[in-house]
């Protein structure tokens, strides 16, 4: 049994060993091991040249990663909390995402970043901000919900040629999974996973919400409600085919998203289903997401902002009964 944290660390170590062009860059990733300990210990094996602590300079950190990638290195950058990626939106939007289209340069950067609430960190340390990037052509986005997927996708991301935003949910870090002695093989982006099979309601989710959806599906199986859980694994590219098949199978769709409902990625998925599978729906689609508000620090208030196994299960029950 290995934690999500340790699995990512082992994957980074394996990639660092495999390819001398791979290096890590970020704030306090060396001796400190990163705010969540993901890179802990790596500096003793790989040294400060490959585990590069930067000043608190998110723009330059990401810009430097982009330039290094354009010249042939394979940087894996860490943004300490996804909330701070707001400071690098320019470099990611106006440079990384356009580097190949306009300049014909490769841009194999991976930007790892912890996202999400549930730890009482407050409004500027708890956001899920994939919405800042899902509308930017030229970026890939991974949001795994298990350690194995995280490892497999991270390997792909590092070995690819495309800028990747790699979202690690904070609540996944301490969770444990059975991971064999060898890491899983790389998993190409764009392949969703059916983590639970059922005939009544399809649930589409990603990152920590996919984990909760699976738990809810297991619970509901006992009640005789069959839930098809589609764990997206990557948001860009999006595996529309798998989603569509799952929706057509059950005729009912719930999309679960951690962030505020308005303007989230669930809307995109809903629109695509609307466009492609309108005739297959037997009930109105539903989005379960956070309210349109910042994430407050107090545990009581924070809990009111994030879908839980219970609210997911309730939403599924409701949909199933329509």
């Amino acid at each position: 049994m290995k934690t999500f944290t340790a699995t990512i660390r082992d994957t980074l170590a394996a990639e660092l060993r495999r390819d001398p062009n791979v290096f890590l860059i970020g704030e306090d990733i060396g001796a400190y091991g990163g705010a969540f300990g993901v890179t802990r210990g790596l500096i003793s094996e790989f040294g400060p040249n490959r585990i590069r602590d930067t000043p608190i300079s998110e723009q330059a950190l990401i810009g430097t990663a982009i330039g290094a990638a354009a010249a042939g290195l394979r940087p894996v950058a860490e943004i300490m909390f996804m909330d701070f990626i707001t400071l690098a939106v320019d470099q990611l939007t106006n440079l990384a995402a356009k580097l190949h289209y306009i300049y014909k340069l490769p841009c194999p950067i991976v930007v790892r970043t912890p996202a999400g609430g549930g730890r009482g960190y407050g409004a500027t340390h708890s956001q899920t901000l994939e919405r800042l990037f899902t509308g930017t052509p030229g970026l890939h986005i991974a949001a795994p919900s298990t350690a194995a997927d995280a490892s497999a996708l991270l390997q792909s991301a590092i070995r690819g040629a495309t800028p990747v935003i790699f979202i690690e949910h904070k609540l996944l870090y301490p969770l444990r999974w059975e991971i064999g002695l060898t890491l899983p093989p790389p998993l190409p982006f764009g392949h969703a996973n059916i983590t639970h099979s059922g005939n009544n309601v399809t649930v589409v989710a990603w990152s920590y919400m996919a984990h909760l959806a699976l738990t809810a599906a297991n619970q509901l199986a006992a009640e005789g409600i069959g839930v098809e859980v589609v764990d997206l694994r990557t948001l860009a590219p999006l595996d529309e085919e798998t989603i569509t098949a799952a929706v057509r199978k059950t005729g009912r769709l719930l999309i679960v998203e951690e962030g505020p409902k308005t303007g989230g990625f669930a809307g995109e998925i809903a629109a695509r289903i609307f466009e492609t599978s309108y005739d297959y729906l037997e009930a109105p689609l539903r989005r379960l997401a956070g309210p349109d508000t910042p994430v407050p620090a107090s545990r009581t208030l924070e809990a009111a902002c994030i879908p839980t196994v219970e609210t997911i299960a309730n939403a599924i029950r409701e949909l199933a009964s329509l």
Binding site: A31, D53, Q59, G122, P294, S298
Partner: protein, 323 residues
């Protein structure tokens, strides 16, 4: 708030120390959660700045803001309640440790984004200049924050516009685990002032009087129209960056040496040298601080949780009166 004597200053400094110690203890006991950055060892800067300020002046803080807030007159009970996520907290539990504020005290808030309040401070100063209110804004940042682009943009703009702004850098030697030498190409933050055509000052940040004098002078200059001032205060962050910090990036010897120079004991020693009755007064202030903190925790613990149904309230400000 007003400080009538160095004993008043000592009283607030020891209150800050006890508050932060309580925060560390409550975290380790699992009674409060989330995150918090304590300022043990930096109390002289917080109180020195506050003691130099005038009642109408404004203050912007950092992620490490408890000491600043207390020095500006923040109520330990409501602060502690905020740490506990209670309805009686400064922001009813919304802010937590990193985003507390009280405008009635001129305390425009802590900020979870490193250097994130520097633009805010420029804007507050611009309003003061625009309406010639005589207000000066004190904006605190850390040494690590001085590497953010916002530092550069704000200082250039504030210097250009002669804004009534005093930027105080609490140089505590580290940004999280990153020592100055890994974060700053030129380790003097005061030296960065020259890039904006102003003179920076560096002082001993563990000396209450040195901080107070330097900030007083800076405030006077800023208030008289001389514009942006930069004061660097050398200090040391005696605790870890935040609760999870094992401090493996520095040696116990280094920490022990820093403890020898910590500001609270230094001030006590100075007071004892100057005033024969100091020991008694200090003991009393220590006692008061302990009681205040105990009461603050009691207040927090006995306060109700916020009502989850209020979570969407107040997203938008109500309409303001217009001209």
């Amino acid at each position: 708030m007003t400080f009538h004597s160095d004993f008043d200053c000592y009283g607030r400094m020891v209150l800050i120390r006890r508050f932060e110690e309580a925060v560390e203890r409550l975290f380790s006991e699992g009674r409060i959660t989330g995150t918090a950055h304590v300022c043990i060892g930096q109390e002289a800067i917080a109180v020195g700045m506050a003691a130099a300020m005038q009642p109408n002046d404004a203050f912007t803080s950092t992620h490490r803001g408890h000491g600043h807030f207390l020095a500006m007159g923040g109520d330990p009970g409501r602060m502690m309640a905020e740490m506990f996520g209670k309805a009686t907290g400064y922001a009813y539990g919304r802010a937590g440790s990193q985003m507390m504020s009280d405008l009635s005290l001129g305390f425009y808030g802590a900020n979870g984004i490193t250097a994130g309040s520097m633009g805010l401070a420029c804007g507050l100063a611009l309003q003061a200049q625009y309406h010639n209110t005589g207000r000066v804004v004190v904006c605190t940042i850390g040494d690590g924050a001085s590497n953010e682009g916002m530092f550069h943009e704000s200082l250039n703009l504030a210097a250009l516009w002669h804004l009534p702004l005093v930027v105080v850098c609490e140089n505590n030697g580290y940004a999280m685990s990153t020592p100055l030498s890994v974060g700053l190409a030129n380790q003097s933050i005061a030296a960065r002032a020259a890039a904006y055509g102003i003179t920076g000052t560096a002082v001993d940040g563990n000396s209450l009087s040195a901080v107070r004098d330097a900030v007083s002078l800076a405030l006077t200059q800023a208030r008289s129209g001389k514009g942006l001032q930069l004061v660097e205060c050398h200090t040391y962050r005696l605790s870890g960056h935040s609760k999870g910090d094992k401090r493996e990036y520095r040696s116990p010897a280094e920490e022990a040496a820093a403890w020898e120079n910590e500001p609270l004991a230094r001030l006590a020693a100075e007071l004892e040298k100057q005033y024969p009755d100091a020991p008694g007064r200090i003991a009393q202030l220590n006692q008061q601080a302990a009681e205040t903190i105990a009461a603050a925790i009691e207040f927090a613990v006995s306060s109700p949780d916020p009502d989850p149904s209020t979570v969407c309230d107040d997203l938008f400000a109500p309409h303001l009166p217009t001209a």
